[in-house]
Symmetry: none
Amino acid sequence: MNDSGQGPGSSARPKRKDAQRNQQTLLEAAASVFVTSGVEAPVRDIAAKAGVGMGTIYRHFPTRADLVIAVYRHQVDACAEAGPTLLATGPTPHAALGQWVDLFVDFLVTKHGLAAAMQGEGTGFETLHAYFLERLLPVCTQLLDAATASDEIRADLDAYQLLRGIGNLCIGAESDPRYDARQLVALLVAGLRQPH
Amino acid sequence: MNDSGQGPGSSARPKRKDAQRNQQTLLEAAASVFVTSGVEAPVRDIAAKAGVGMGTIYRHFPTRADLVIAVYRHQVDACAEAGPTLLATGPTPHAALGQWVDLFVDFLVTKHGLAAAMQGEGTGFETLHAYFLERLLPVCTQLLDAATASDEIRADLDAYQLLRGIGNLCIGAESDPRYDARQLVALLVAGLRQPH
Amino acid sequence: MNDSGQGPGSSARPKRKDAQRNQQTLLEAAASVFVTSGVEAPVRDIAAKAGVGMGTIYRHFPTRADLVIAVYRHQVDACAEAGPTLLATGPTPHAALGQWVDLFVDFLVTKHGLAAAMQGEGTGFETLHAYFLERLLPVCTQLLDAATASDEIRADLDAYQLLRGIGNLCIGAESDPRYDARQLVALLVAGLRQPH
Amino acid sequence: MNDSGQGPGSSARPKRKDAQRNQQTLLEAAASVFVTSGVEAPVRDIAAKAGVGMGTIYRHFPTRADLVIAVYRHQVDACAEAGPTLLATGPTPHAALGQWVDLFVDFLVTKHGLAAAMQGEGTGFETLHAYFLERLLPVCTQLLDAATASDEIRADLDAYQLLRGIGNLCIGAESDPRYDARQLVALLVAGLRQPH
DNA sequence: TATGAATGAGCCTTCATTCAT
DNA sequence: TATGAATGAAGGCTCATTCAT
């Protein structure tokens, strides 16, 4: 059905070319607006930045969360995938955990308002929150388990709690030069270490 | 601060009592509304709860931050004053720091949306943020310094950073049963300890 | 509480004078707009016509149905009250029914889109519909019962059905010169008469 | 009407078959959507149901009324054609009228929102309205005339008026179990009978 | 010809803030 | 001084309709 009307001998998809370009434009515009105005920026602004109508945004991303997820999906995925790698190559599980956490913090700190938006329930970002958990919770759990198994850290912190804590520590980090989320997160991870 | 501008020996004193009562009513109503709807609750709701007009609120507290500060001033002050006491009576400076931090967390966690509201710049809560710093920064600094002096903790964390981190960790704590801000803050403070 | 601040010796309500005037203006504007654009006219239009902001309308009439009811309440009430009177003074119950129905038709026919708006469920006019029934159903029932008791009409039509039918017959009546709702309603009422 | 513009002996005939099939698909899809969502259903829904693009619908039926007419043409025609038959076979003209009216009501009542859509001027359904009149007015006139000629009914109701009244009485009939359009229409027709 | 992406007008609703009474 | 009515900017969302591919 999608292939009909296509010239003979061609193997490429015919129709969507402009739409794809548009989608790309949209993602870039959104990312850009998110940087300056946060992920709660008015739909109108994003549309304007992209040079499209608002309807176009709603078509591609029915929900604001859909848009945000699309904008950051690659980076979240990359972060998730880095976990096992770090665990395999790092000197110790605890060190791997530290490095992975740094990656996560780097991501969050550069996303204006992202960390903040994922808090609260009636905000419509539940989907986004869920996506983060779906991707990162298993990885974080794996890292924590490994570090626990090697007796490096205390066992009483679950991954959800850790992720949430890191997320919170990253709120507002990019706009306050006196605030260094990385240091605090490092402290948190240091606090995990077995007292002896 | 509220008394200045009132000439001594003025005959308008009786009037003031009314105003004070009104102010008190206002503070109680605001506190109550803050508990259920957060510190960003609509002005009208607060006015309704207090049984006064909105204009009255604006008269007494031109800015929302003014109102919030007034509501929590006593508790912030109490927290600030507890610092030296704990330091004097506690077994070690680091222990005193831990207890003081617990106090601060207890305060924040029970204030729906307070911690979140103090983040971000364009939110109009800069004054509130400033008040917290003005009162708590010296105390926190004193505690950190003492613990550093006694060689219990590393010296590379300044009080601003710590307060901000604690504040962030408290965001959304009351609405998520899976999230325990106290544990994370404890971890953070634990991370401060000297490796040996 | 509402009386304080009032000049001594006055017995009139102090504050609401302008609001009352405004409410009146609103009702008149709404009535006027309803005539030309129907009861589904945009809120903005009504506000513009009244020379007020939209918020003012929402304050006085949170729901569109509230506004419509307010606009037509007097007339509906008058219609309801006319029922018993006509029954008492009319030659026969059936004649009274006919006269009452004429009153109702006169009312509906002059209200652009009112009859149409009360149909359908997801339209937000349920309240309006309910108000009409609440006021007119008892009256209509009374008239029908009387006519039935005097053996003038068949007994198999209930008041709801009749009101609904009349309402429907009045739809679009004012805009089509070739259509005479009154005649049709008269026919309907005539059809009620006992075959013998 | 649809055939004009096609030269005889044209070689484009094969293409036409496609278009016809498409048109048929469209009509069925539209009919189906009309049943559930009414004749004002979003264009997109109809296109989706038919598995075609929206543009295709606009090509075949530039106006929504065009589509609706096409969907119901057969049934309207059948209704129109039933008139003379009933007149010829019925016991009396008035009985024939009653039966024909029943047919019309049956048709309307089962078409969600059709009756309502034909009211009002700015709705874009004028064409549809006109089509109904074009087909049914002559038939209805014939039936009324016959009944008048046989002295069964009063002569003062014209066919337009009657059709319009029936149409109105059918509005909203399928969604309200307490409302029985057939009974009311029967009453209306009964009311036509000569008092004696 | 068919497709469906894009457009954007149009409506709704909420609330911070001002200001007449 | 207190009140709360009025204002209107701000933002959300839905489709009918057009038009590039």
